[in-house]
Symmetry: C2
Subunit: 235 residues, 2 copies
């Protein structure tokens, strides 16, 4: 079974300008995804899929290969399934795992679990999700709870929110759906893969960037002892 | 119109032990909520609702008053509406705003907006929510999107996730529903109040604590200049 990692990256990000070359916690954003994929040793090939020579060069300097995407597939309007299709035609494989640079907090163990799930062969599409165990409304109506009682948050059935950190597709159905004029993004048998909340940031706005930076910083503080008000005098 | 802030706090938190006296970003967790409510100047009274003398004292030292909750309403099983009812019977008011210590990142401007909404008198219950603009599943079915197309995240209709950072109830219907044996938590005319994502942490697990710490750290870094890979050589 052949497994390829594809890391999409554009230079023309709008809400966080040039985010893929911007430093986050000591290295450029793109390098987080490349290091994760290359460092895992789980893929036959790791490709950065970009229109930008500079991003290609950055990927190569971290051990990935450079798939040069046509400019027409690198605009702000370009659809994910269009550039993924173009990529899969150029790099035949059984499965492709898209590793998004916008989720730089994914830990190696989480990627390894996703790859295991993909390799089980059970699914055609695997989406990474965060499970939100909170009362939620859609269109002002409750989705996962009733208004007539208050249940403990631990007992609420979760909503699974797709975060696009890691997405896997079986190539064959993806290509077939695409060529039949259908959207392959959620195609075939669909699996949801939960990832931990503290790996789930999705860099979209400058606010998200600040949050991700803080979450990275906090990881280094994990070993610190908590301090308490009036410790030792607790009644 | 009389408006009271109630800050519930227990000493016996389980998943994050003694969290209300634990220091977060330079002051004990409880003090964040008290400073927010007292500092706003928007309330006729600000009360810490706790069984603990120590937490009461901490609240008082930051300018709140101490409502001593009966021990039976301070167990892990105690229901929010039970201790809120006991509180409202002791402190008559038109509206109570519950300010939770588990959301220490709420900014003063956000509290002020919520209070304006409450004072409009339009709602009996106001819940703070975070709007999540992401494809979401419940019970493995899509909630706010279709599987046959991929739309841009900006165009996805949001799911509103309740976070209990700030909750407001009109006293009278709350008391009436409670006394009629019904759950008043979502009672009467319900309003959803969106709060910004970077104020929306909900401290439940040690992982959440690390995230909140990170988000607080990130606030102080906002003025820093971004750095870019190979800056000046961009092609």
């Amino acid at each position: 079974m052949s497994l390829i990692a594809m890391i999409p990256a554009r230079m023309g990000s709008v809400r966080i300008p040039r985010k893929n070359v911007r430093y986050l916690g000591g290295k450029p954003l793109l390098a987080h995804a490349v290091d994760l994929a290359v460092g895992s040793g789980l893929f036959d090939e790791v490709w950065v899929n970009t229109e930008s020579e500079l991003l290609g060069e950055l990927g190569v300097s971290h051990g990935a290969m450079f798939h040069k995407r046509p400019e027409r597939l690198a605009t702000g309007d370009a659809k994910n399934h269009d550039f993924t299709y173009e990529f899969l035609k150029a790099h035949p494989c059984d499965y492709v795992v898209m590793v998004n640079t916008t989720s730089p907090l994914v830990r190696p163990g989480t990627l390894a679990k996703l790859v295991s799930l993909v390799k089980s062969g059970e699914f055609d599409t695997v989406l990474s999700v965060v499970e939100e165990q909170a009362e939620s409304f859609f269109d002002e109506s409750p989705v996962n709870f009733g208004l007539d009682e208050k249940i403990n948050s631990q007992d609420i059935k979760p909503i699974s929110k797709v975060i696009w950190a890691l997405t896997a597709w079986r190539s064959q159905p993806f290509l077939e759906l695409y060529e039949a004029g259908q959207t392959p993004t959620f195609g075939g048998k669909l699996g949801l893969f939960p990832i931990p909340k503290d790996e789930s940031c999705d860099l979209d706005t400058p606010e998200d960037w600040a949050i991700a930076e803080g979450m990275l910083l906090a990881r280094f503080a994990v070993g610190e002892e908590p301090r308490y008000w009036q410790d030792g005098t607790l009644r």
